[in-house]
Amino acid sequence: MNKTSDVQKASRSPIPKFLAENSRLTVFLILLIVSTVLSKGIFLSPANIHNMLRQYAGIGIMAVGQTVVILLAGVDLAQGSMIALVSMVVAYLNVNGYGIVLPLIVGLLVGALGGLTSGMIITKGKVPPFIATLAVANICKGLATLITQSRPIYGLSKELLVFGRGTIGGIGIQVLVWVNVALLGIFILTRTVYGREVYAVGGNERTAHLSGINVQRIKLIGYAFSGICAALAGIMITSKMDMGGPYVNLNDNVQSIASVVIGGTSFAGGRGSVTGTVLGTLIIAMINNLMNLMLINPYIQQGIIGIIIITTVTLNQRRTVSK
């Protein structure tokens, strides 16, 4: 009952209606205002915003790949471990005199291969995505630690540090990579046949299959893309930290999924967008940034993100139910 009356109330004038229909944008704008006011304007300073974007570029890149997988009614739990594996592979090759081109190519290939493996297990083995990617996550975690018996690799060459620390026109390269990956994601999903097929498969696999779409191929490419995005994020993080780190940060994977979900992509598949995901990542970034600026206890950050997920998903569902 409440649900319909909320929407009716909102529909009287255009601006509230627009905000009610774009709950993510509303949350984003509210956060923007709250952050600016609470931090007395520090939040809006270019230096702060640039820092925030650099900090979340890795998560943002992962989240673009995660969007495609979740649109396919799946999930990729292997991204966090893939970051560790790619970080170790790239650092190991770089330190052992293979320059930077080969390590980068091999790193991206490892990501693609990992994603393809998940995709194969899901499509050929008929294993649920949660379980398949959990298994691949385990394998990546093991491989990452095996390379050096769980010791980090230091002493990367200077050229490799460009991705995490260099700037072009004052903007961090990792931020530019994030922007490009997001634009690529938007392009693929909205302007290509593959993108439309992703929505079709995620919306209804059977119908998609019957209308002649090669469902297995769509899924394989989707998981490979997610793996490549994780690999790119891994390269950025390796470059930023100036080391190959075998440690898996579980929180990275959670934040990647959280970005997608806050961004309004349905977990049932078939509905959502990369634009939403980018907003989702920005919302998470802003919350954490604001809490840092306000010197709020960092322990509550995960909790706040949890509350934001529950709120935005519930708002989102109310809207779809009342339609």
Partner: protein, 315 residues
């Protein structure tokens, strides 16, 4: 429709193939381990396996119940951390109060999970991923990010207490699994969980209050996580707000290797028990053989793929 049909097919496959397969695999693993290492078949080693798997083992009971209902609970690892913090904080005042208090807290969190799930209609993966963060934050805030000392020695000693050469926790686990087995098989609520998990719409039409069953399922999961948390506290002898990370996936691994269906409606807690010890023995034998511990996750990953892949592909 297609999904439901596929699930139905999977269920038929599950029930026809896995009844004898898993015990057989279990026995093969035992024999293989015994053949590989003479140290495997010793009381000392079995004690290690049991005590090492106990927290996951207790947790896996609750996880099986949740998976059978067709949902998932990712917040149980955080709940263990919260329980251990509450336990360690209250223990200096009164041990009884601490035990009751921490079980009460985890029961409440389970109830909140269940109520939120039924009210918001969110997918359980997303909801419990969120409460995972919220509960973890709660534990960190209460403990101010530091380990909490104050677990009395008498309680800490329970985790390695031995009765008649068998660890106390082994008895506790057997009781837990028997209770869960009895609950799922012979109580109305237990049967309803299977009904809701295999088809919630037909369960509703046959008069089952689906929401109440789901809330009860999460309450059970929370309470069991509290019990696992008590054992965990005794084992690490501290309240650890950042501990027990990723324990939920360990519990899920035991349940799915045991053949619990990810789509709900299918699963036996006895098989979870076998799954738990197959994982425990594989880890153990790799240790005994002196294989790098970093190979363990790879082995477990491959084990999951084989176990689930073989089961769903068999037709």
């Amino acid at each position: 429709m297609f999904k439901e049909q596929a699930q139905m097919k999977d269920k038929v496959r599950f029930s026809s193939s896995s009844s004898m397969l898993l015990p057989l695999v279990f026995i093969i693993v035992v024999i293989a381990c015994a053949a590989v290492s003479p140290m495997f078949f010793t009381a000392e080693n079995f004690r290690n396996i049991i005590v090492g798997s106990a927290t996951f083992g207790i947790l896996a009971c609750g996880m099986t119940v949740v998976l059978v209902s067709g949902e998932i609970d990712l917040s149980v690892g955080s709940q263990i951390a919260l329980t251990s913090v509450v336990m360690a904080t209250l223990a200096p005042k009164s041990l009884t109060l601490a035990i009751i208090g921490s079980l009460f807290v985890s029961l409440c969190i389970g109830l909140i999970n269940g109520i939120l799930l039924t009210k918001t209609k969110m997918p359980s993966f997303v909801l419990t991923l969120s409460t995972m963060g919220i509960v973890r934050s709660l534990a960190l805030v209460i403990a101010n990010g530091q380990p909490v000392y104050g677990v009395p020695r008498s309680f800490a000693n329970l985790s390695n207490a031995v009765v008649g050469n068998v660890p106390l926790v082994a008895y506790a686990m057997i009781v837990m699994y028997l209770l869960t087995w009895f609950f799922l098989k012979y109580t109305t609520l237990g049967r309803s969980i299977y009904a809701v998990g295999s088809n919630s719409e037909s369960a509703r039409l046959s008069g089952i209050n689906v929401n109440r069953v789901k809330i009860a399922t999460y309450a059970i999961s929370g309470f069991v996580a509290g019990l696992a948390g008590l054992f965990y506290t005794s084992y690490v002898t501290l309240g650890l707000p950042d501990g027990a990370v990723d324990y939920e996936t360990q519990a899920i691994t035991a349940a799915i290797i045991g053949g619990t269906s990810f789509f709900g409606g299918e699963g036996k807690v006895f098989n979870t028990f076998l799954g738990l010890f197959i994982v425990g023995m594989v880890k153990n034998i790799l240790n005994l053989m002196g294989v790098s511990p970093f190979v363990q996750p790879i082995a477990i990953g491959v084990l999951i793929i084989i176990a689930v892949g073989v089961r769903t592909r068999k037709s």
